[in-house]
């Protein structure tokens, strides 16, 4: 393998993988052995090796979500050894490397668990609840016409930095998966504070937070009890301060918006 460490010793691992044929079926943990895993592999490449073994043996491969494999798309979503995206802090599953494990380890791999995140198959989870929350208000309406000039609207550096920090949320759902209450408030708060900070977000500021929180509740996510598991497991480090901002924005909107319904 190009660029790999020639001294790295290949690993043999026992995997305990959640297998579930479809949404309705009852799932269970199935044990698999994988051999000669390079420590330089990513976690998903290790699963690719498992799937190739399964295909060669005429078995159904393990379904799991992935897309960019660069840690920016938020598609990969595995609950590894009891942690969202595995044991390493500040990483997505695709950026978790096998060198973080040791030869002979047993690794438990489960899908995100939450009533609002039904399991499609095996480790693949339906996170369209997040899409519907965004559709409810996580956007800025833009007038038609020519493309606006860059930096046409002056934004102080400090504000733009804080907005960008919140905007790093990739919507992977690790927060919901880790939360005892399956609360989506870290996700919603990142979107709400990002847009509330920027001048472009002011027009829809009040309706946005009202509608996004209403949709979040409708999807059946839990209520935050300030435990902090979400922020600890977030691969991009969204902080709990955003949830305080969400609470403020919500209360202010409810107290002052013209929406009486």
């Amino acid at each position: 393998m190009a660029g790999s460490n020639p001294n790295a010793k290949p690993m043999n691992l026992t995997l305990k993988v959640w297998r579930q044929p479809n949404r309705q079926a009852q799932g269970k943990i199935v044990d698999y052995q994988v051999k000669d895993i390079s420590p330089d592999m990513s976690f998903l490449e290790m699963l690719d090796v498992l799937n190739e073994d399964l295909l060669r043996g005429g078995q159904d491969p393990v379904a799991f979500d992935h897309d960019c494999r660069e840690g920016i798309c938020g598609s990969c979503d595995l609950f590894i050894n009891g942690r969202s995206h595995g044991p390493e802090k500040g990483t997505t599953t695709c950026q978790l490397h096998m060198r973080k494990f040791s030869d002979g380890d047993t690794i438990t791999i489960e899908p995100w668990r939450a009533s609002s995140f039904p399991v499609n198959k095996d480790l693949s989870v339906d996170r369209s609840a997040f899409d519907r929350i965004i559709q409810a208000g996580g956007y800025v309406s833009v007038n038609t016409g020519g493309a606006p000039d860059g930096n046409e609207i002056p934004i102080p550096k400090e504000i733009s930095d804080r907005a960008f920090e919140a905007a790093t949320c990739i919507g992977c759902g690790a927060c919901v998966a880790a939360c005892k209450n399956a609360s989506a408030m870290l996700f919603v708060s990142a979107k709400v504070s990002q847009l509330a900070l920027l001048p472009q977000g002011q027009v829809e500021r009040k309706t946005r937070v009202e509608n996004m929180v209403a949709q979040m509740d409708k999807e059946g996510f839990g209520a935050c009890t300030n435990i902090g598991s979400c922020a600890a497991e977030c691969p991009v480090g969204i902080s709990l301060e955003n949830i305080a901002i969400l609470n403020r924005e919500f209360l202010a909107a409810k107290a002052s918006s013209n929406n009486l319904a």
């Binding site: 959640w18 942690r83 300030n226 598991s229 305080a244």
Partner: protein, 252 residues
């Protein structure tokens, strides 16, 4: 009324009620603790009984008492509603392996269990002192020569009697440990829910919360422990108090 009911039945609205009622109950704890410190006055309960009589009969206190009932009521009701919502959100299929101890504090994840222990204590506590003084009327009077205080309930002796029953002392101390952990998370959590999170003062809120949790729970727990270990049946310092103190100190 629709927007109001929608606000306070939403997930954030319920949290805000939890937070406001919780922080209100914190102020109650301070008043209750300071008042109860009169148990340590060594005057045969004169100060404590006068204070209890005032708290039980003053019309302003009796009015505010309803605020306290509402504070507890809202806090317990919203806890039940939120727990039900959160359990449903988590779903029936749990994780086979979940290491939440690696990403959060035990006390933050177990506020419901801690609150339930405090609620059981509260029921026993209210029955033993509040119910008996206010409704059952079976607490003996102070007596004595002073015409002002002789008809006051001798709640001091009721406290002394109760705090010589070992299982009662055990329940009180266990409840105060639970209260301490409950406040450890609850104090700072209340501010976070109200949106009061800022790098300037959030660290201060956190450490004030820790100090508050330790001082309040240790303060309350010291009362049953003191009467059980160091006083006789009349609440006077026991003859063997210094020997007990030495053996307690030696145990540490």
């Amino acid at each position: 009324m629709s927007w109001i009911s929608k606000t306070f039945t939403s997930s954030i609205g319920r949290k805000i009620i939890m937070s406001l009622s919780g922080l209100f109950l914190c102020t109650f704890l301070v008043v209750h603790l300071i008042g109860n410190l009169q148990l340590f006055k060594h005057d045969g309960g004169a100060a404590f009984n006068t204070y209890s009589h005032f708290m039980g009969t003053n019309p302003i206190i009796r009015t505010i008492e309803w605020g306290l009932v509402l504070g507890f009521g809202f806090h317990i009701y919203e806890a039940l509603m939120l727990t039900r919502r959160n359990k449903a959100a988590r779903g029936s299929q749990g994780y086979v392996s979940n290491h939440s101890e690696q990403n959060s504090e035990w006390t933050s994840r177990n506020m419901g269990i801690l609150g339930t222990i405090i609620l059981i204590f509260l029921i026993v506590h209210l029955y033993n002192f509040f119910w008996r003084a206010r409704f059952a009327g079976d607490i003996p009077k102070m007596g004595g020569a002073d015409p002002l205080t002789r008809d006051y309930d001798n709640l001091y002796m009721a406290v002394v009697d109760s705090f010589h029953i070992w299982w009662y002392v055990l329940l009180y101390v266990a409840a105060q440990i639970s209260l301490g952990y409950h406040l450890w998370h609850g104090f700072r959590s209340g501010f976070q829910t109200l949106g009061l999170n800022h790098r300037k003062y959030t660290p201060a809120i956190k450490y004030i919360g820790y100090a508050f949790a330790v001082l309040v729970s240790a303060g309350f727990a010291s009362m049953p422990l003191y009467f059980f270990l160091f006083t006789n049946a009349q609440g006077e310092l026991a003859a063997n108090a210094s020997a007990v103190l030495q053996s307690v100190a030696a145990a540490f």
